[in-house]
């Protein structure tokens, strides 16, 4: 599966999508879901929680392992995807569709520091060696 060019990425394998209303939605990448395998549990941050960049704020657990999800930028959680509580496998089926939570960033310009698709591809390739 190719890495969507309209999203931004972190070194810890989150994807970040800029929404029209100025918020950003966050999920985990195809590469991350493939490494973890079948998802069985998602723990989302509380709506209203203030996050600093790089803070642990959510957890995804597959049958095999648990993995932390980190805030890509500083901001406030404004919405979580409750659908994933009952259907965590959506992360496996459609990783770039299954957003986990939305943040209103403190500073939209922080997004510029994130990786684009090409940089993320290079990052994934480098971790494979």
């Amino acid at each position: 599966m190719s890495i969507p060019s309209n999203l931004k990425y972190t070194a810890s394998h989150e994807w970040v999508k800029a929404e029209a209303d100025g918020s950003i939605s966050i999920g985990i990448t195809q590469h991350a879901q493939e490494l973890l395998g079948d998802m069985v549990f998602v723990e989302s941050p509380a709506v209203g929680r203030k996050l600093t960049a790089g803070e642990e704020c959510a957890v995804v657990e597959s049958v095999k392992a648990a993995a932390d999800v980190y805030a890509p930028v500083a901001g406030t959680v404004i919405e979580v995807n409750g659908e994933l509580d009952a259907a965590p496998e959506k992360i496996n089926e459609d990783p770039y569709g299954a957003w986990m939570f939305k943040i209103r960033p403190d500073n939209t310009a922080d997004m510029d520091a994130l990786m684009d698709a090409a940089a993320y591809q290079a990052h994934v390739d480098s971790e494979a060696h």
């Binding site: 069985v40 549990f41 723990e43 657990e61 049958v63 095999k64 648990a66």
Partner: protein, 360 residues
Amino acid sequence: MTLKQTPLNAAHRAMGAKMVDFGGWDMPVNYGSQIDEHHKVRNDCGMFDVCHMRVVDIKGNGVRAFLRYLLANNADKITLPGKALYSAMLRPDGGVIDDLIIYFMTEQWFRVVVNAGTADKDIAWMREQAATASPQLSITSRDDLAMVAIQGPNARSKVWQVLPRTRTATEGLQNFQAADCGEYFIARTGYTGEDGFEVMLPKEKVEAFWQALNQAGIPPIGLGARDTLRLEAGMNLYGQDMDESISPLEAGMAWTVDLKSERDFIGKAALLANPPTRKLVGLVLLDRGVLRGHQKVVTAHGDGEITSGSFSPTLEKSIALARVPNAVQIGDAVQVSIRDKLLAAQVVKYPFARNGKGLI
């Protein structure tokens, strides 16, 4: 370190396996969805590469007497040819060196199957004990043999499609009994809680056998599903649920330890001198989350620890084996510390699932 490979390594890669380092072996963890693989074994059948496990043949006069002393379970329980017995092999202080299966073939030949990670240590220990107790015995590591497990309600009939000439010899096998069919040694044993066979055969034939099983419609199953299947079936994993620092009596293995007969065996005195204060129980998580090894279990009688935990695909909830104080009872409400929270769990009698059905 270079990972060790089984003779099926290339076949796994060709079948799309995701490979992982499993105790120094390059093994398939899944071929796609581990949950799908789990359900296939519970409901139909699947095949596992277990070539990393080691077959050891002990031959000569007095094998039974040697095993009677070497193992915590009593080799005298198996008198029907081919019959198998699960046992712990203990240190003098009662710690578990390994758990293994022995097959009684003749009074001159018992076959032993041991875990991959402990095989070299096990064989050295057996030889050391035999050197003084039974020097006439030969203890041979059968590195020329491969092993494939075919498990599930339809496993045996599929194997007979591939090996029709072994059907007569294996159709009448009881659970936990094997038949020596020349090149194929076929045992009605496994590590999933389902019916099926474990087949030992010459290494150079295993890839063709694997492909023939696949042609007969048997999907390959990775170690990921093997772990959830054995956990649901309430079967211990060496190195996780017990090891050299743990008494078998605190690892749910009391049923395999024969303390009643007059027979002496290595570790017996230590077990009698140190009655267990903890026991292995099953847990089902009531809150949302996933139980994992090493999580702390908080009970009214003191803390315990999860030894194996995962998500049960059959029950669709998280389950675990945990070592807790003896006073903890089936049905007790306990808490498990997961990250910074205490989550509610219930103590249950295990196995959690076998023969296609959840038991909780």
